[in-house]
């Protein structure tokens, strides 16, 4: 395990899972990410990240009900764990801290 530090994409995925609440499954996460970031989220990439997050213990998953759309296959729903929550909060905190020490003037003239 590479520690609890989050990559940028990992953080985005975690946040998306949190925002989708009970509807967070792989394809849904992809769609949501595309909607908010504007960049194409590849299923393979998202899948790999989900797998990694689960390995790190930041998310947990369970299988849902079978639906017709997916050829009778069940969805795997993801939800954020408390460790996951701590990780995103920590990331936010770091960012906020950094923002707070940037003098206003520094960004103004760029």
């Amino acid at each position: 395990m590479k520690g609890t530090n989050l990559g940028e994409f990992e953080e985005l995925v975690l946040l998306t899972i949190a925002s989708l609440v009970n509807e967070a499954y792989s394809v849904g996460i992809c769609d949501e990410l595309e909607k908010h970031t504007g960049r194409v989220a590849k299923l393979g990439v998202v899948h790999a990240v989900l797998n990694r997050l689960e390995e790190k213990g930041l998310v947990k998953s369970k299988l849902g009900e079978a639906t017709n759309v997916r050829g009778g296959k069940r969805k795997r729903y993801y939800s954020i764990t408390s460790a996951g929550k701590a990780a995103v909060l920590k990331a936010k905190e770091v960012r906020d801290q950094l923002w707070s020490i940037i003098p206003e003037i520094a960004l103004k003239n760029i």
Binding site: Y25, S26, V27, H47, A48, N51, G71, K73, R74, K75
Partner: protein, 879 residues
Amino acid sequence: MKDQQKISPPRWAQQLLSWYCRPELLEDLQGDLNEYFHRNVKSVGVKKARLIYALDVLKFCRSYTIRKPGFPNFIQPNMLASYIKISGRSILRNRLFSTINIAGLAISMAVGLVMIGLLSDMYQYDKFHVNHDRIYRVVSQHRYLDQEDKSLYASTSLRAAKVIDESVPGIDEMAILYRGFDGDIKSGQQTIPLTGFWAGGSFFSVFTFPMIAGDPATALAKPYSVVLTVTSAKKLFGNTDPMGKRLIRAGQASDEEYTVTGVIKDIPVFSHVRFDILASLGTRELTQKGNPNEMSWVNMWNTYVYLLLPEGADPENIQRTLTKVSLKENKTIENTTIKLSLQPMSEIALGEDLNNSIGPVMTSSSVRVIGILSVIVILSACFNYTNLSIARSLRRSREVGIRKMVGALKTHVLGQFMVEAIIIALFALTLSFAIFVLLKPYFLSLNNQYSQMLLLDLSPRTILYFLLFAILVGILAGLFPALFFSRLNTIQVLKNISPVRGFRSAGIRQGLIVAQFTISLMFIAATITGYKHYKHVLAFDLGFETENMLNIELYDNKADLLKKELSEIPEVKGVSSSSIVTSLGNYFGTTIKYTDPQDSAFVHYSAIDEHYLSLHGHKLLAGRNFNSQHKTAGTDEVIVNEKVLKRFNIGDHRPQNAIGEFITVNGKKMKITAVVKDFHYGKSIDNEIKEFIFRFSPDGGRYINAKIISMDWPATLSKIQTAWKKIDTVHPLEATFYDDQIEQSYADFSARIKVIGSLSFLAICIASIGLLGMVVFTTEIRLKEISIRKVLGATEATLVFMLSRGFFTLMGIAVLIALPTTHFFFTGYVLDEYAEHAPLALSELSIGVISLMGLALLLVCSQTLKVARANPADVLKNE
């Protein structure tokens, strides 16, 4: 419904995904991909969506999705007992088919067992040396001017050993062997002929020959010391302690006296270095003092150098230095280039057949050929099993259906049939083991080489290999039927009792029968061609007479004495002597020059007496025979063959004109006194005739050739024995008829034919057994049809014709495939290697084909006739 079918993702991609993906991830992933697929169908169309799906499946093949390879789950321990029980019942129920399968497999597996025995023997060679994987032999490539002959020699020169010792770094130890320490060794009371080497360097550090008495480090240090094996020590000294005892060996000038400084255990069987006695190499430094040839770079015919490299050393480095050394040393000699290279110990006994090899060698190519042929025979027997099992699918399919209905998975059915095949193979193993034991002495006696090199003894390891082999054969034979049965559709099988299912695979079965008979036919064709070639070689006109010629090895006895003794025997019609016996693959060579001092040629020669040419019926085209009155004939007269005239353009190729011309032989001017007609002095099938000369040496012969005309050979032989005993009391008489010697020199060839012949016999047996099984089966399921036909008025002849027609079409196809292939193979590859070969006649091949067809006809007709004769009432009333 059809549309629905069309817009599903590609089936193979789905299967691939479910094959590689971990089960816990699979369902979600399948769902995701399906969801995307349906979206893509709407946005980009079906075709593209399918492509994307397939690509995605490939992309998802990552480390975290791939299933861990697990133990094949068809052998579940708790089911095994049931598998075995059911298999036993099924084997007992179908006695005929089980017998056919077991017999066929047993025959072919016996071949496999011999093969395993042979390989495990061969791989054991030289492995008893502790450092066997670090020992390398220095071999040489000899090239005279720009002669084509680039062959490798196992030997090298004493000088090479010295140079390597002095200037090649990175070698731990070196052992030097110099062959030819042969002869009669005398110890006080006993005189015994022994063979051995002069050995030097750190012989006992390189090789592991455990010493019973003496110090391995110093035993061979001093000149005139010898080390004996236990057996030869027993022979020489009986039960007394041999250490420090004296031994006498007849040397070149005078007798040499040696001291025994060590006794080693007997040489293990699987050693390529074999000897009775070792003498210290230091002895040669004393006895060969003043011999300039001893340490010359070109004298590379008798020395064997073995290097022990340090652990982890790269032989490539040594090789590079050796190449450099060779280049440097080549400058010291003229006309010849010698290149040294390394040969790993593991490739000595089983590897290339090098010139001047010590110890027997089995070429890896011949092992490979026999190996491939045995695999073919084994496969043929596996075909039988596959064929019969699938043919019987009709009967077993309902069993499979019910199994599946009560919950068996594909893997369970697979397991059931695999276990059955393996059990049959194990039964076959016991039978084939018996065949192996019977076959072993026959196989070993096929070829001198085999009996010298192989034991084919049983060890726990070979028995383990046998078992593994049987299981492998079982898997091979059973896999296809097992897959076939496991795929059966439960509902169809249970609903539909028509034999349609069984016949769907008819194509495969027919293909297998064709393959079997093609193989058998090819074997037959190969045997016939080979045998004909062999006969052709033996009956080949060599250009001189060999009939009733007895060649007697002289050892070091005086030729004149024996000649005198022999000529007193009335049955001996003529006697001559020669330095070699030609046409057996023995050569003696020298170089000759004509007027141009730059232009020299390599010639083979034999030194003969004045009776040799007339006794052997050589034809002189011009000139006269050697004359024993002419005292210096040995050094100034020579008889050449026609090829020599051609080579140097002597006298416009006219024999008459060449008489009286001078050629330089080995530096001496000699007059051509006669030209002899070309004859085959080499092994007739391998070599074309090249330049050859006869020299005169009435007492330098090593063989006595005696022409025998005798009505009572045993009596004559005993007379010759008595004559021999008068001259030599040490050596037994070594006398062989020339024709027998020629036959022996092709022993390798005849052994190969015998092997192929036996294999073809086995292949035919197996194919016939298989055919019998198929015929029995086909007629059995058509029993009712035949009975109805008969009731309606069909004659027996038409029924037999109808039943066997199919089989003969298959035979026809096999013939059409086999004959052209074999013909092409032989004319294109095999026979091309021989300068002289018998023409390939289709007439003989067709005899083989016809006899095989006859056998098949007999099998098919006997079975079909039996069915055709059956009383239709008996068959039909059962319904």
